[in-house]
Symmetry: C2
Subunit: 348 residues, 2 copies
Amino acid sequence: MAHAHGYAVKDAQSPLVPFQFERREPGPHDVCIDILYCGICHSDLHQARDDWSNSLYPMVPGHEIVGRVTAVGAHVKKYKVGDLAGVGCMVGSCRHCSACAADLEQYCEEGATWTYNGTERNSDQLTFGGYSDHIVVEEHFVVKVPENLDLKAVAPLLCAGITTYSPLRYVKAGPGQKIGVIGLGGLGHMGVKFAKAMGAHVVMITTSPDKGKDAKRLGADEILVSRDPTDMHKHANSFDFLLNTIPVGHDVNPYLGLLKLDGKMGMVGVLTPIDPVIGGNLIFGRKSLFGSGIGGMAETQEMLDFCGQHNIVADVEMVSIKDVNQAWHRMEKNDVRYRFVIDMATLG
Amino acid sequence: MAHAHGYAVKDAQSPLVPFQFERREPGPHDVCIDILYCGICHSDLHQARDDWSNSLYPMVPGHEIVGRVTAVGAHVKKYKVGDLAGVGCMVGSCRHCSACAADLEQYCEEGATWTYNGTERNSDQLTFGGYSDHIVVEEHFVVKVPENLDLKAVAPLLCAGITTYSPLRYVKAGPGQKIGVIGLGGLGHMGVKFAKAMGAHVVMITTSPDKGKDAKRLGADEILVSRDPTDMHKHANSFDFLLNTIPVGHDVNPYLGLLKLDGKMGMVGVLTPIDPVIGGNLIFGRKSLFGSGIGGMAETQEMLDFCGQHNIVADVEMVSIKDVNQAWHRMEKNDVRYRFVIDMATLG
């Protein structure tokens, strides 16, 4: 066992406080990574507060991890000491079910092992995330980080990036398509960048007209203010795909009216109930509503390679580990453009 | 103008009563059809009662029409006097929008012309449906009826048939797929027959265990009683596709739990709001919910040809036009297996 330190919450009311714990020694298939940067995902706050009624304490959050390899097990093939490496939302899966066989480990029939707020695959020991100095992860769940990217801004790609990249690939986003991104936050700002890089005509759909200027800087071709009925009418029945990043229950019916025949809306943000869908809004136009959760390991690597080729990273605001509770408070108020990243050197 | 007679409702409270009206003379592209049989669709009752707040009176319902051609316009190519012919839910569309160009006239961007409770394409004259002695329809919206089928049992194929056939084709139903049909009524019983004929493993999903025996006669391989938690658990995460024929708002979340990874549920019955969908039920497993409305004219013909090849018709109960109000009352109580058809010879 190797001594580790990081920040944890002790219960649903606790702030993040310094926390000492043990990481396993790297086994033959494991990669040991010194964490350089870790993104702050909105789900870190949901999990810390037990909003989804499945929280395990003490909890070391963090699943947007980049760092440098410090040791590898005897059977590790793709990584060597000194390599850059990334770790996202999962660190294990059964590796033999049909989902795993289809490179969709996030939907593992036996349940994926989540990077934190889970238990190790073969024990009841808690998994601890990236708000910490190092992590030990099975090679299959580690991804290579392109050397040409700004490393600190790569961290959010491991969750916010793949969560938006995967559904865009699922609907074969590309030239000739009109794609709307609903909600301009950590997920939405990545959705705009990816949809644009894939060649689509991108419309940022937001309740806040003041976000428009920034959305265009990120790559949006147009802005649609969803509270403006004239604007909504103008874009009615015109979208091939809507990437819906809203993280709380809401009324999707007005957005369904924006979809053209056979149009699809992908939900990536909300785990809780949405307002009642009107059946006729799906039937008239054969419209679809689907959900998508992160992406498999092969697709996560593909996403990072795509980012390397297109020079895509997240827009980040750096934060010291000592200020992480304050960052959470600001994130709660959507006061971040667009992702906080912890500089783990500040752990001292 | 040709004199016609049928049955109509005069307002939302009215019973069906004898009604005299005029049909247009067949134009150069029109087919004139003597109606032999007309199915009674549950939507006839919804429309008569103004349940969807769009009813136009007087209303002659009926959009499951089969009959024999009595006259054709000069430019009609596919039909001649004496042919069997069918007419379904629509009698016109713009013929030039992208939906029409894709043989999806039901989603016409200018709006399809419905067989009844609509207005003629180029006038404000009401369209009158199949509870009548004859109808005049543009050739493009007429389909050929295979000669080998029991004609009276063909009528329901024009709506209940195509409504269930189309989404099964949309999801490429076939061998190796496990398909569930939710709700055993006019739509559901056709869904079972089609899914079976397409080669899928078919599970009838019903709240009523007593419907099981009949579902197996119709072709179901298995019965799943949705009120039985053990049965629901046994089938969890196992369906490729669910055809949901429930015609009123309901909770789809338990059914989403039956879908496997990338599974889809097609909604064909409910135009009104459904209960709140839990976002996580879509996200975990990348599941889809889509709507589907009838089918285009080419697919309606394909469906009838498929029925001819596989000897598929609806299970019907014949009714005299004089007893049509009583039939509506029984349909309201789901007391029909599985579709009433009016023998139009009883119109006298």
